[in-house]
């Protein structure tokens, strides 16, 4: 084994970059360095597909988390490109000062470090620490504008996030308690690979209670209703690149933690089935968010509710379980990350050029800013689940597998999807078409990240490469 492998790199690059960015004045260079560091992390993450290191006591790369790592690094990279053009504008308008930008860039890399660490952790304690780190950095980023609303959002996020994190820690301790009689005291009782190997002998009652705490704790971070209250505010008031990574990545990381513990429970014959709990939470989030979409007046807040809706669908799919539903869940997670961050990229530029986030004040985008306008239309069409885009395919798979197995559950599922669809169509019509309002000044936007994401989503709707399908099928079987 070489001294420095790819796993070390995806942790070391963000950590070093964060330290450098914290010291470096001058935002132009920092922004470029941020992009470079994110790109290097992406390269390191992709190299994991070629050579996978052996699991150690702290770090682990297996077939499940490699998907998450690659997605994380990719969206992290494209968002850093978007962020470079976004913050230039924020600096011009004086919403951010150079000192805050320095802080912003350093925090961006710390957040990437936290998320990567959470994904590769082979230790439930370490994973908890990493998720807490990522949460705390995003709290700071959400409050960075220091407006009244931003502070309210950050405070709410901090309080709810901490409570969630605390519940998750209690669940983690309970898992250790359950493992102790079987695997013995000390470090072994917290290592995934060892836990998975011995879980059949654990006390099922203790595991059940632990899972309830873990699901509620990490579920708060996934943004599942009724624990979602922090999510819309945090998305609406923070800088838009942070909204993009929150929706596209942090929610996934928390969901990954839930999935890991679901696997643990599924391997114990005496424990309750974790699926139904996840199904209920998922459906609640979906239907609730679908209705809430109608009353939104703030564009970023609207897409935040759409994230709750989609996390609901994904949780539902994983809760249903089985190869087909798990496949659909994985695909949907990937498609949602790509689409939602692309939407936030366009929304960020739109809000900057129009100087407002109020939906009522933004009209006729396709006339004033054709590229942004049509990009937004395409993104919303995709997120609403219209064919032929990628999300249609994954939603179709979720719905059809549900109809085949539990037709009764399919009714609220389809209802929720249709409600959300109606709301999004209603809003996008006003935003994109009609008499233009507001500023028509041209934007200095970087269209590349948006175009890359949307073309991937469009491509996935038509054609999924067979190796990718085989990989997803393999992971779906692993998930049971």
């Amino acid at each position: 084994m070489p001294a420095i492998d790819a796993v070390t790199l995806i942790l070391a690059i963000p950590a070093v970059a964060a330290a450098v960015l914290a010291l470096l004045p001058g935002y132009r260079l920092s922004a470029q360095l941020n992009v470079l560091a994110s790109f290097l992390t992406l390269v390191a993450a992709l190299s994991l597909f070629v050579a996978k290191p052996e699991p150690g006591p702290y770090l682990l790369v297996d077939d499940l988390n490699i998907v998450f790592i690659a997605l994380n690094a990719f969206v992290g990279f494209t968002t850093s490109v978007f962020s470079a053009s976004y913050i230039a504008h924020e600096l011009e308008t004086g919403r951010l000062t150079p000192v805050y930008l320095r802080f912003y860039h350093a925090m961006y890399q710390v957040m990437m470090f936290g998320m990567n660490l959470a994904l590769v952790a082979n230790n439930i304690g370490l994973m908890w620490v990493a998720i807490e780190l990522a949460t705390l950095t995003t709290v700071l980023m959400v409050g960075i504008y220091r407006t009244h609303e931003a502070l309210e959002a950050a405070w709410k996020y901090f309080i709810l996030g901490s409570v969630g994190i605390a519940l998750a820690l209690f669940g983690t301790i309970l898992v250790y308690m359950a493992a102790r009689p079987v695997v013995g005291e000390g470090l072994d009782g917290m290592v995934w690979t060892i836990l998975m190997a011995h879980v059949a002998g654990f006390d099922p009652a203790l595991l059940n209670v632990a899972f309830v705490f873990l699901l509620l704790g990490y579920g708060t971070k996934v943004g599942l209703a009724p624990l979602h209250a922090w999510l819309p505010d945090a998305h609406a008031e923070g800088p838009t690149p942070i909204s993009a990574v929150l929706s596209g990545l942090l929610l996934n990381v928390a969901l990954y933690a839930v999935l890991r513990f679901k696997l643990l429970l599924a391997a114990n014959p005496g424990a309750i089935a974790p699926g139904p709990l996840m199904v209920v939470l998922g459906l609640t989030s979906l239907v609730f968010a679908g209705f809430m979409l109608y009353r939104r007046r703030d564009i970023k807040r609207m897409f935040a509710y759409s994230s709750i809706e989609h996390m609901g669908i994904i949780t539902f799919a994983f809760g249903m379980g089985g190869p087909l539903a798990n496949f659909a869940g994985l695909l949907h997670m990937m498609m949602h990350s790509l689409t939602k961050s692309a939407i936030f990229f366009t929304v960020g530029h739109i809000a900057q050029v129009k100087g407002t986030q109020k939906i009522a004040d933004i009209r006729g985008l396709t006339v004033t800013h054709p590229l942004l306008g049509w990009g937004l239309v395409l993104g919303v069409v995709a997120i609403a689940g219209m064919p032929p885009l990628g999300i249609f395919m994954s939603e179709f798979l979720v719905v059809s597998s549900t109809f085949a197995r539990e037709p009764l559950l399919a009714i609220p599922l389809v209802l929720g999807l249709l409600i959300a669809f109606g709301a999004l169509m209603l809003r996008i019509h006003g935003l994109a078409f009609g008499e233009p309002t507001g500023s028509t000044a041209p934007v200095k936007a970087s269209y590349l990240p948006m175009a890359a994401h949307l073309s991937l989503v469009l491509m996935a709707g038509f054609y999924l490469p067979p190796p990718l399908v085989a990989w997803f099928q393999h992971v779906a079987r692993l998930l049971g």
Partner: protein
Amino acid sequence: MHGLTFDVAHMFAGGLVLVSFMMLYQDRLYALLNVFALQAFVLSLSVAWQALVQDAPHLYVTAAIALILKAIVIPVALHRIVARLGIHREVETVVGVGLTMLAGIALVALSMVVMLRVTGEADPLAREDLAFALSVILLGLLMMVTRRNAVSQIVGFMSLENGLILAATGAKGMPLVVEISVAFSVLIALIVIGIFLFRIRERFDTVDVGALDRARGERL
């Protein structure tokens, strides 16, 4: 099971729950901070006792952190903040004391019922520690929801963390990683909180979270 070992550990864990109850009915901030310091002190005694009986010297570190940071440094710092903001006379409970106490009793009963039932096979000390820890956690949560003032919400959160440390030390042989991380997280949380308090003061001259509840961006 040695009788004395068990009884002392039991006393400290029960003491934590008792102090949690005392926090529920404090309606002056200074008094609340003093009771919190007392809770952290009891926690450090409890952790030190566990270190002694489990023969786990690394737990002394956790006990020291609880004593120095949570029983002394944080309460003093919060005292100063409260004094500087001039909010020491603010009474800010959302629900009445009687109702809060009743809810607290119900929560403790709930955690006893849940934890004692599911941990039948674990050793009695760990069992009761877990039940008490869950009580402290739930009481901390209760305090966070029944208070409107940012400072007392922080205190509620920290008392919740005290419950977590009690659980972590009760679980025999739990790796050091976790204890340090918990202590560390308190530190980070403090930094965050400090920044928040600072910013909140700068902007609105109040730390009443109710004042933060005005604009929602979309309520026109």
